[in-house]
């Protein structure tokens, strides 16, 4: 049984005029124990919406249309937000939203924010026990517990704050961690330090599986075991990291891989792929393949026939004509 | 605009705006249906409210309702004029200091701090008392405006200096736009909603200042304002006589108008600053 399953999930936004904008259309995937599953996509593709939906926290104007999300076999849809917060969030699944390191309350010390996490999920833990646990956990992952825990967030560097966020999110040893662009606003050196810590936590068994969302494919190449590429609210290709990075089949995936610039000898001559245009407006009904308007390999049929995601070998591809 | 529609949906805004519109009606539309006469003695001094004179008479026997309406008009006039002057001076100083930085900022900040430290009310008293004859409503508004602009200047300066980091200012500079052009087209529009809120508060503050200065007898020389009514009621010991109609309506109106402005300001803040929305 997969540790985290998303089953044909459809999510929509409701505008003030009552229009429904389908933000996520029929996404399915299963996260296995011990796996890092990467979701790649560019701005506006719906990956952040998907992730918010995966947590069962539907804050208007976001609403679920249909589909199911199961954590260790148990569905988390149709539960009250309070129920989700106490029983699911933090405990079974932990989420690190985008820009989390800038959302730490500036008037509270790290140790108080961390203590909140424990107190809101476990009743009757003594202050001493909390203190000991925090010390132990921060030391385990290589952070200087004495200084960091007693600091205010504003006095820490961005990288340090993000590491605190990750530590606090995983205090209760969740089974799954969902990270939305955890290193996008950090510079490369800090990024490496944060990811190193994440791997260290995986090795030490603090959590076992991860969903990693980012637009940076080179990062996913080193972090993820499997990758799903998202475009206009749908997965267009899902496969192992090796398959997606080095042998993409779907035209959008191929375009993304082709657009990467690498500082490698011989790569200087390789002209990066460029696609004009922008993703389709999801507020309007779309006929045919969503990528057809920009696809370099589009045929007349592509504009008429909706493409379903199909299983090709041991991967999934959303393109009837992909070789 | 979208923002305006959002405002109309906010209950607090409707409440504040509603109160304010009611007072406007009282000041400007009510006189069409009720004869306003602040000169004629229509009864004995401090006659209590009756069917013919809803708020009784003042210490000279003049109809209180007429006095209240006239006083309201004057107070609103002073409040608006003082608000315009204070907001105008404060905004100009604020955006210039915020944008220029450097020594211009330092000088303007120094001047602002000077004006803050000197209690504006004392200045108001000193200037008012030295002008024995020529104290008109406009002059009082002018004095209030010229002494209470500091708050606008500081707030606008803070907003302006946070804007200059935006790239569109840098781009305007490399387009060759001069300082005045940048202030007018690239900074002021971004601050308009904020300046408007500041303006609302300055009006309220102007009404209060006028009431205070008039209450202590240094108000306009030959006009009736809500503050002068309070002054008259104090001078003639209306409180001791139990003539509540001589000061409660005036004080009440001041409170309602100022409160309405504060409520409007708070509701606008919720709409203009999305982070405050629930």
């Amino acid at each position: 049984m997969s540790i985290f399953e998303v089953d044909d999930l459809h999510l929509h936004y409701r505008t003030r005029f009552g229009e429904k904008i389908p933000a996520v259309s029929g996404v399915s995937f299963a996260l296995e124990q011990g796996e890092v599953f990467g979701i790649a996509g560019e701005s506006g593709c719906g990956k952040s919406t998907l992730v918010n939906g995966c947590m069962g926290l539907f804050i208007p104007p976001l609403y679920p249309t249909s589909g199911d999300v199961r954590v260790a076999g148990e569905s988390i849809m149709n539960r009250t937000p309070a129920d989700v917060r106490t029983n699911v969030l933090g405990r079974k699944v932990s989420m690190i939203p985008q820009g989390a390191f800038n959302s730490l309350s500036p008037t509270r010390k790290i140790k108080d924010i961390a203590a909140d996490m424990i107190e809101s999920h476990e009743k009757g833990v003594s202050k001493k026990a909390i203190h000991d646990r925090l010390q132990q956990r921060f030391r385990l992952i290589g952070m200087d517990a004495d200084t960091v825990l007693n600091e205010y967030p504003v006095r820490l560097t961005a990288g340090m704050r993000q590491r605190c966020v990750i530590s606090i999110s995983t205090l209760l040893n969740p089974q799954v961690v969902i990270a939305d662009e955890p290193t996008s606003a950090l510079d490369v050196t800090t990024q490496k330090a944060v990811i190193t810590m994440v791997f260290d936590m995986l090795d030490k068994g603090i959590f076992s599986s991860m969903i990693f969302i980012t637009h940076e494919l080179p990062l996913l190449r080193h972090v993820a075991d499997r990758i799903a590429v998202m475009y206009a609210g749908e997965f267009v290709e899902v496969g192992t990291t090796e398959q997606i990075i080095f042998d993409p089949r779907q035209p959008y995936t191929k375009a993304l891989m082709g657009a990467m610039l690498s500082a490698e000898a011989g790569q200087k001559q390789k002209k990066p792929v460029a696609i004009e245009g922008a993703p389709p407006n999801l507020a309007k009904p779309i006929v045919g393949c969503r990528f057809a308007g920009r696809c370099p390999e589009a045929r007349p049929e592509c504009h008429r026939n909706k493409q379903d995601i199909r299983i090709v070998g041991n991967r999934q591809v959303r393109c009837d004509y992909a070789v | 605009m979208k923002i305006f529609l959002n405002l109309l949906k906010t209950p607090s805004f409707l409440f504040g705006a509603g109160c304010f519109l009611l007072t406007l009606c009282l000041a400007f539309i009510f006189p069409f249906v009720y004869p306003i006469d602040t000169v004629t003695r229509v009864g004995l001094p401090y006659m209590p409210p009756s069917a013919s004179h809803w708020l009784g008479t003042d210490h000279m026997g003049v109809d209180m309702v007429s006095l209240i309406v006239t006083g309201l008009r004057s107070s609103l006039y002073v409040g608006f004029l003082a608000g315009i002057i204070a907001t105008g001076i404060g905004t100009l100083m604020g955006i210039y200091a915020g944008f220029k930085g450097g020594w211009q900022d330092n000088i303007i900040t120094m001047v602002t701090n000077l004006f803050i430290v000197i209690p504006s009310f004392i200045v108001l008293i000193l200037i008012s008392s030295s002008l024995k004859e020529g104290r008109s409503l406009a002059l009082i508004a002018g004095i209030i405006g010229c002494t209470t602009w500091t708050w606008s200047a500081r707030s606008v300066r803070a907003q302006a200096s946070s804007l200059i980091a935006r790239d569109h200012i840098a781009l305007a500079r490399v387009n060759g736009t001069g300082t005045f052009g940048i202030l007018l087209f690239h900074i002021l529009p971004y601050l308009m909603s904020y300046v408007f809120m500041v303006f609302i508060l300055q009006i309220a503050s102007g009404i209060l200042s006028e009431a205070a200065i008039s209450m202590i007898g240094l108000g306009p020389y030959d006009s009736v304002s809500l503050g002068t009514l309070l002054n008259e009621s104090m001078k003639n010991e209306a409180l001791g006589d139990g003539a509540w109609w001589a000061f409660v309506p005036a004080a009440g109106l001041i409170t309602i108008v100022v409160f309405a402005f504060y409520v409007i300001n708070t509701s606008m803040e919720g709409v203009f600053n999305p982070r405050l929305r629930k």
Partner: protein
């Protein structure tokens, strides 16, 4: 034909922000030259000083000590400087005023030119600039910045350069806020600009892959100093300085190992 005089000549330039104990040395005794029609990239992590150096090149900041020369002279007249040196910034939405239409803001760019052309000529030049970045003029007719996509807005910044026709372009992270698929288009337009206008381009970026692809020379910066400079192959394959090595090792690249698991 290339000019003999170096476009930019930095001589021991230092730039300090703040005073006393809180003073931060943003640029620390930096010296370099940039030749006519060269494409140079300043690469480094955050806090390395590349953006400050860009502002100095644009004449928006002056060094505290040392000299920074443009074509052999100090930068004294900002307006004259901006006729020849123009920027492209990172965030295309923050670059435009949200209260005015895009076209009117493109028209504002004529303000820096020495002689303002006639009204008709201005409109023609704007149309030409738009076509040069593959936008048909009716597409932006009456539109405001928030109505276009990031890629389109970035192209507006480039259209502005086509209008002004400067000699030097300072591009500060021109593609970091643009989708990967559209990035190569932006680079194409930049190269087109360079060839047509015989421009010198200075790229500021943290993306060494981009710098490698696009530049004639790379300058690696670290904490206010230029720690290494040279041809792209030299710097990336045979890095001499420890900070360059660190930077190359820290950037995740699909072909190279990154973190040992």
């Amino acid at each position: 034909m290339r000019s003999e005089v170096d476009v930019f000549d930095a001589q021991d330039v230092t730039c300090i922000f703040g005073h006393g104990k809180k003073a931060v040395t943003a640029i620390d005794r930096v010296s370099f030259t940039i030749a006519d029609q060269e494409i140079v990239s300043l690469v480094g992590g955050s806090g390395c000083g590349k953006s400050v150096l860009a502002k100095i090149m644009l004449g928006l900041l002056h060094p505290n000590s040392g000299r920074f020369l443009y074509k052999g002279n100090d930068i004294t007249d900002q307006r004259r400087h901006w006729r020849e040196v123009q920027p492209v910034f990172q965030d295309p939405f923050s670059c435009f005023n949200q209260f005015f239409t895009i076209r009117s803001q493109l028209r504002d760019s004529f303000g820096i030119l020495e002689q303002k052309p006639s009204k008709q000529e201005m409109e023609e030049r704007i149309d030409q600039a738009l076509l040069a970045v593959n936008i048909k003029p009716p597409e932006i007719e009456g539109k405001y910045p928030f109505e276009l996509s990031g890629g389109q807005m970035q192209r507006m910044l480039l259209a502005r350069i086509f209008i002004i026709r400067p000699k030097i372009l300072i591009a500060d992270e021109p593609t970091s806020m643009v989708d990967a698929c559209v990035r190569a288009n932006i680079l194409d337009y930049l190269m087109k600009l360079k060839q047509e206008l015989k421009m010198t381009i200075v790229f500021i970026t943290h993306d060494i892959g981009l710098a490698y692809y696009v530049s004639d020379r790379l300058f690696i910066m670290h904490q206010g100093r230029i720690v290494e400079q040279g041809a792209p192959d030299e710097v990336t394959l045979r890095p001499q300085n420890v900070h360059t090595v660190q930077l190359l090792a820290d950037i995740p690249d699909i072909h190279k190992p990154w973190i040992l698991r």
